[in-house]
């Protein structure tokens, strides 16, 4: 098992290298001159040249690449022109806002999605199953930016119950913070909840049909124990995989959700960076989200190996 985990960790290294390289290439391909963008159209040619020199833009590309990699490993992601600050601290300062809604959404997705999925599997082909699986299907098909607007329309504009913008502040009490979180979290939780409900159902159906579950039942073991202690435990690996994928893709949801609710997280930071052509900030945020993805995937795979020992015996087939 240790070998499988080690192998998986080693595999992540070239992926990280690809991520770093692709980020560099993509940012260099964005048309326009960063120095010119920073100084504005009124800048003199000398000023632009001086800045290009200071930013290292006149160096050969390979040297820029090496400087960039060295910077990345020192946590130096450059200078954000639109926020006038270092990129890395800026990203880190926005991280808690994004994590607060994405993690809450995923926790809710697990709490609601798994029981619904398991229950649907146990009640296969009953109205309960049909209703929730149709709902889950609608959920996975949901354009969440539209859902966000509809939530704003219903709960903020028409009913006036919940705020539609910003984060709220602890100074106004915990209620203010929570009320600001409700709609974005609802929006972000929709797809993960539906996906987890669907995978829990199909994974449970696979296990409860198997012979050992039948034999456990025939031995008179309590039904709840059969379901949660045995069947669910064996149905867990695919659910963990899907949860990991949802965790990793939460940034995509965050970009859209934060943009709707003016949530001051990494999502709005990315959109602002793209709109204002803030090259270092684009580079930094893109790289940051991709690295988070790689690391989360790595952790999920390791957890998967731990809860599903079969993986390690199957050898090299799983990569």
């Amino acid at each position: 098992m240790l070998r499988t985990i080690l192998k998986r960790v080693l595999q992540a290294i070239p992926v990280l290298f690809v991520v770093i390289t692709v980020t560099f290439i993509l940012t260099r391909l964005i048309p326009g001159d960063p120095a010119l963008t920073m100084l504005g159209p009124q800048a003199t040619a000398q000023a632009v040249d001086a800045l290009r020199e200071r930013l290292g833009l006149n160096l050969p590309l390979w040297q820029q690449f090496i400087d960039y990699i060295l910077g990345v490993f020192q946590g130096d992601f450059g200078w954000s022109t639109s926020y006038n600050t270092d990129v890395m601290p800026l990203i880190l300062s926005r991280l808690p806002a994004t994590l607060s809604i994405t993690l809450t959404a995923l926790v809710i997705a697990v709490i609601i999605g798994i029981p619904i999925g398991v229950e649907s599997a146990l009640k296969q082909n009953t109205w309960f199953d049909y209703v929730f699986m149709v709902l889950a299907l609608v959920g996975v098909s949901m354009p969440i930016f539209w859902l966000g607007l509809m939530l704003v329309l219903t709960f903020s504009v028409n009913l006036g119950l919940l705020p539609s913008m910003g984060m709220g502040s602890m100074a106004n009490g915990i209620g203010d913070v929570i009320s600001h979180m409700v709609l974005p979290v609802f929006c972000l939780a929709t797809i993960p909840t539906s996906t987890i409900a669907r995978i829990s159902r199909s994974s449970m159906l696979d296990t409860i049909g198997s012979d050992y579950i039948k034999s456990l039942r025939s031995r008179g073991i309590r039904e709840t124990a059969v379901i949660w202690k045995h069947a669910f435990k064996n149905a867990l690996p695919p659910i963990v995989t899907v949860l990991g994928m949802q965790l990793a893709s939460a940034f995509t949801g965050a970009i859209l959700t934060e943009s709707i609710f003016s949530w001051p997280g990494i999502g709005t930071l990315i959109v602002n960076a793209v709109n204002s052509r803030d090259y270092s900030l684009i580079q930094g945020t893109v790289l940051f989200t991709a690295v988070v993805f790689v690391v989360v995937n790595l952790i999920v795979d390791i957890v998967y190996t731990l809860i599903n020992p079969r993986v390690s015996y199957e050898g090299g087939g799983q990569d």
Binding site: S141, P143, F293
Partner: protein
């Protein structure tokens, strides 16, 4: 049976046999299996309606989608013969939705085709040749898949610049690694089957084995993934347009109609509401269809 004259017996049994074989074939055909799956049929109907709308837009659209009449701006649904009302320029929303279907579905299918063709070729090469080629290609695919899809498409749009074709390209490039990974996995499964080994021993060229044996065997998961991917590509186009980096007005796409509706959500909520419902329905249709096709191809996964 023994009582029949040879003539009638022969005639009957041959006909009956043919009939039986035909029936059996029909019952086992993918199409028939699909038609027995209610959810898949619902999906197919939704997709068919949307595609019909897209193809015959000029014939069924009540108005020119770009016909501006400022005196009729922001009419609510049903007013003055506008079924879905009008937008901020007084353009008929129904007509814009119908023409929007054209762009949204075309971009989604186009982007998926691009991703599928490039991804399948790359996946075939990686899976078939294995070794270092495979490792390098797959690590690059893993790397590309680490970028949030919308973010990658957003950056690609910044690089490529605006335009419908560039939206297709941005979505397409983002899709390549997913198809490559899928196909590569399939090749690994099929590659070591007996008939492939037999072909190899008989001296068949790699391209012959790839295209006459491996690809046809890998085709069903590709079709399933293709269908499901069109669904997510519709969302991606809408998301890009929503963020202002997708299809540019005045060309109507569901995403930019929705984006336009966002600015007047409080006063004229019908614009955002209607366009979003069409996105949701179409995505749902492709998802239902994709799930149905998967059940046909892979009875083991029957839920």
């Amino acid at each position: 049976m023994a009582e029949h004259t040879p003539q009638t017996r022969g005639a009957l049994s041959v006909e009956a046999q043919i009939e039986m074989v035909k029936r059996e074939r029909r019952a086992n055909s993918a199409w028939h299996k699909l038609s027995r799956n209610k959810m898949a049929v619902v999906g197919l109907v939704i997709v068919a309606i949307m595609v019909f709308m897209a193809v015959f837009a000029p014939l069924i659209s009540p108005q020119d989608p770009n016909f501006v009449d400022m005196t009729k701006a922001f009419l609510p649904p049903g007013a003055e013969g506008h079924v879905f009302g009008t937008d901020n320029y007084g353009r008929d929303l129904l007509s814009r939705i119908i023409y929007g279907a054209r762009i949204s579905i075309f971009v989604a299918v186009g982007g998926t085709v691009f991703g599928a063709v490039a991804g399948v070729l790359i996946g075939l090469v990686a899976g078939f040749f294995g070794g270092i080629v495979d490792s390098v290609i797959m690590r690059i695919a893993d790397g590309l898949m680490s970028f949030p899809f919308v973010l990658l498409a957003l950056i690609l749009m910044t690089i490529l610049g605006q335009g419908t074709f560039n939206v297709i390209l941005a979505i397409g490039i983002g899709n390549v690694p997913y198809f490559a990974r899928l196909v590569r996995g399939q090749v690994h499964i099929v590659k070591n089957e007996e008939y492939c080994n037999a072909e190899r021993v008989l001296g068949a060229s790699p391209s012959r084995i790839l295209f006459t044996h491996i690809l046809p065997n890998a085709i069903s998961p590709i079709i399933v993934y293709f269908t499901l991917n069109v669904a997510s590509a519709i969302i991606s186009e809408a998301a890009l347009s929503f963020l202002g980096m997708g299809i540019q007005p005045p060309t109507a796409s569901w995403g930019n109609i929705l984006s336009g509706g966002r600015t007047c959500l409080r006063t004229s909520p019908h614009i955002a509401t209607v366009s979003g419902i069409f996105i949701l329905l179409t995505v749902l249709g492709f998802n239902l269809l994709g799930d149905g096709i998967r059940d046909v191809f892979d009875p083991k996964q029957k839920r």
